[in-house]
Symmetry: C2
Subunit: 100 residues, 2 copies
Amino acid sequence: MKPDSEKLLLLRMSSLFGVLADNTRLKIMYSLLDSEKRVGEIASIVGMSVSATSHQLKVLRENRLVKKRRQGRENYYSLDDYHIPALLALAGEHCREEIS
Amino acid sequence: MKPDSEKLLLLRMSSLFGVLADNTRLKIMYSLLDSEKRVGEIASIVGMSVSATSHQLKVLRENRLVKKRRQGRENYYSLDDYHIPALLALAGEHCREEIS
DNA sequence: GGATTACTTGAACATCTATTCAAGTATATG
DNA sequence: CATATACTTGAATAGATGTTCAAGTAATCC
C-alpha cells in the first residue's frame, strides 16, 4: 500500500473507532442489532432525550453506520454495515474476558 | 446476561474504542504488529515527541493493549492482546472499502 | 388551515483529551 | 561520583465532543 493511503486509512480507522467510542451510540447500535426502530423508541431504550438521540443518530449516519427510512412523519433507523456487528462482537468478547 | 453487567460491558467497550480512536495510538499499535520496539523507535516511527509517545503508551498500557519490558535503561513495548490485531484488521477492511 | 406529532438543527456550555514543556527518575558509562 | 541516556510524569493549554435548550421543519389529523 502507498504510504499516503496508509495514512488516510489510519485516519479513517481512528475516526470509525471514535464514533464507536461513546456509550450512547453503542447502545443505539445494540438496539438496532435485531430490528429497525423509530427515533422515539431508540431514545427511550437508551434513556436519552429525543434531541440527544437524534444528534447521535446523525453522527452515526454521517459515518455510514446506520441508515434511515422515512415513513409518514416517522424515521426508521437501521444498521448500515455488515462489518459492524462483527466488530461489536469482537470488542464485546475482549471486554467480557476483562470483566470475568 | 444481567442488565447491570451489560451496562458495564458497554461502558468498557466504549472506552476500548476510545483508546483506539486516536491516530497516534493506532500508529503505535501498527508499529508493534510485527515486533516489540523501544520508546524512541516508536516515537520516530509515529513522528511524535518521545514525551507524547510515552503518554500514549501509558494510556495503551493502562488499558492492557500493550505491555512493557525493561532492559537496562530501555523499555521495550509490545502488543498485549490477541483480539486487537483482529479488531484492527476488521476495522481496516471496513475503511478500505470506503476509500476505494 | 390550525394544531399536533415526530423529529432535526444550531448555539451554548461543560467536560474530556492530546500535545507540549519543564522537571523528575533510573540505569549505564567514563 | 558526575554526566549522559532513555525514558516518565505533572501541569498547562488548546481543541474536540456530548448534552441541553430553544427554535425550526415536515407530515398528519380534525
